[in-house]
Symmetry: C3
Subunit: 340 residues, 3 copies
């Protein structure tokens, strides 16, 4: 179980309650009143624990598990030991995620405004907002209901934040709008000037950055990630985008719905990503490109040209993955031939 | 126009005033009293707007623009529509930058010292300095006239900051000198210990880092960028260097005048960059190297050897770009041959 | 000498005291009472200065040095000028590190608790702890003797910190334990949620992150580095690990004793590093891998498979370094052949 120093468990729940919350099905004959007290991996789960089988690699662990219940795809349910209630789910990992959120809901701090927070008198805060110590909230800022603003967060003049947003400590936000239910992790920097200047040997001349950052609903932005505001157009992050730590998003970039950007990705100015683009860790994307919906950019690749929808690219300069594999195999053969 | 929630426009200006500020020339017969109220892209500009044509790709947009005036190179001025005053400039983007700064000057906050700032009694602040809430300024710190120190900025003992420096919220500075008119964006970390230790299986032994960070005039340092102080020699950033977000600069590194380091660049200890070196995003440079003046390091390359002045390198390990192109073409051919 | 604005020198010391502290040997006939006042490089050292010769490249500088004493391996001691006392050491750089720490001990601030720190009444602080302005310390936090908590540090509920830990300004810590004598540099983010969700076109579903971060003794964690807490298992950093700036460590990662991670390294979830693994700058390691004890990952490489103990890998995808060299040579030859 999770360390009670840090986590507070809810429940217990009956297996029927859990199945309902997770959109899973109880098999015929299962006892709907079976009580579950916690979540655990297949290997360590006991009779009161809920687990899941997502990857067929672990079918044997499933067959040997002492868990009281587990989410599983119908085709593997037959392997369940007699002591385990198989909860049938199309996507057992998603079902587990929903169930784990029932056992470990995010703690809601009391909706208190720290007396040390500096809040401009023209700022408007919704109901049940919490603001941590030493937060600084600028003029004309609007913060929606139930938002949680961490300690030391600095929110610049005019920023608008929708409801149920959580901003962890030490973030800075300026020149931006943030959609509902978005979470921003510690140290993220949002809305500062983009990297724009006219190069000149006599001294580069900075170009005023006159756009904003528009962040959608249900977005996550990782720790110490940086998102610059637009130069004139806006920088845009679509609904449901998941952005990991230490990611750089340049000015005028537009990121579609549900995109996933793993840690240390960098996206240069004015590049557009369609919906559900996946970029692995340390991917770099040059400026002014278009990456099609559903494209996959393998970890560490360097994208120098547009990528069509649905295509997977790899390497530097990034090429479609089959081509990359052929290239790599060709190099290996060549190196071996000469090695002899 | 820029969102008035976040930006305050100055002006209007006559076209003659704008031409004078931007170092551009009014063509014969143009009305010097034409009034301009804002800046805008060629496509969306109206009769009161100022625009620019820098990239010949947009000549058609220029020819069709409804802008009142636009900076343009003399050779394209003939394509101006009759309603548009072409302002002749050698470098239209630089002229635009200067004009945009006239319309959107950086807002100067009132020179107030927040009552919550903790300022050591031995620190000396110049005239018209502003210090934000919760800033912490150490012993013997000196801060020049008109500096703007953001909220939560922490400045360690002895640091000296010249005039007109702007430090955005949440930066930490120690063991450093900062030149005039330099801007440091949120979350930058300057002057902490370099990564220096004597490796030892019984426990690595840290080597005291006894140098400083010397930052020149008119420098920009991006959000969450880290610049370690020297180990004995200093870490140096030359005048006019432009450093983007999430860049790492190791101890004893020296960066010349006007260098441009795009986001997520990493420079290992004791490497020296000449003047006007350009490093693309995610470039890595090994330690103890010399990169000549005007060298260009293509995005994502890994530099393992010295680079001569003026040379462009690419790839890993980085080689001159022509060689990289030949290598890449050779691999592609080889892979295709085998693919058949 | 180090700039007295920023550094306070201790001493002087006799050469015998220094030899004893550094584990070095005085040669027969040397005057043990010779007084040393500072450390300096071989080239600039004077008669009162202590230096060292570690790299044979600098034997000539050693032979010409005016230093009063220098650490040197026995085989080079014969090259010492007559005015220089050669202090015999197996590892002269380590000996220098220890001596430099004698001359420049880390300043110990007075053990004061800033009146502006917000400390939960249930937190327990050891003796001689210092807490900087605007630090925020949560419920049930435990902080060991002689810890130094910088200004604006935020420590979440339940965190336990052992003795003699130094946390620089602006760090955030949650869901973690920190071992004795560990140093955390400014802006590091430790213990926030890992990047875990069930992908779903209808909206990715976040998976609660129920683990912790366990940091060992004598660890260093660089500026703006991010270490996510585990998803269920813990994220672990072994004793004596040295982690540079802007490093990303994903959930469930385990890092062995004495590992060295240079700046901008990224390690994906659930990967395990043995002891004394060295990863160069900008290395990326995929998830769920095992990297053996003593493996070396060359700068900028992308590790996609397990690496056996003691092996050095390079490139993308990373291969053993000899293979990489062969591949690179083969590509160069091929490109040249076609270039003709």
């Amino acid at each position: 179980m999770a360390d009670p120093r840090f986590f507070t468990r809810a429940g217990p729940f009956t297996v029927a309650e859990i199945a309902a919350r997770a959109g899973a099905e109880l098999p015929p004959g299962a006892d709907p009143e079976l009580v579950l007290v916690d979540v655990a991996p297949l290997e360590t789960a006991g009779p009161g624990d809920l687990s899941f089988l997502d990857n067929r690699k672990y079918v044997d662990a499933f067959a040997a598990s002492r868990a009281g219940a587990a989410f599983v795809r119908p085709e593997h349910a037959g392997r369940a030991p007699s002591t385990l209630v198989p909860l049938l789910a199309k996507d057992p990992y998603k079902a587990y995620a929903l169930a784990a959120r029932a056992f470990y809901p995010e703690p809601a701090p009391p909706a208190t405004i720290s007396p040390t927070a500096v809040i401009d008198p023209t700022a408007r805060l919704g109901t049940d907002v919490s603001v941590g110590p030493y937060a600084v909230i600028g003029a004309r800022v609007e913060i929606g209901d139930r938002c949680r603003i961490g300690s030391h967060v600095v929110i610049g003049d005019g920023v608008i934040i929708a409801e149920d947003v959580r901003i962890h400590p030490h973030c800075t936000l300026s020149h931006c709008f943030v959609g509902p239910r978005t979470t921003i992790f510690p140290g993220a920097r949002i809305g500062q000037d983009g990297f724009g200047f006219a190069p000149d040997p006599a001294g580069h001349v900075r170009v005023p950055q006159l756009g904003r950052v528009i962040i959608g609903a249900d977005v996550e932005i990782g720790a110490n990630t940086t998102i610059d505001r637009g130069a004139g157009p806006d920088t845009i992050v679509g609904d449901g985008a998941m952005i990991d730590n230490l990611v750089q998003i340049g000015h005028n970039v537009a990121i579609g719905r549900g995109c996933v950007l793993v840690a240390q990705v960098g996206i240069s100015g004015s590049t557009k990503l369609g919906d559900f683009v996946m970029a692995g860790g340390q991917v770099g994307i040059a400026g002014h490109l278009t990456i099609g919906t559903g494209a996959r950019l393998a970890a560490k690749c360097g994208v120098m040209r547009d990528v069509a929808a649905g295509v997977t690219v790899c390497g530097f300069p990034a090429v479609p993955i089959k081509e990359f594999m052929r290239q790599f195999a060709a190099i290996e053969r060549l190196a071996k031939k000469r090695g002899k």
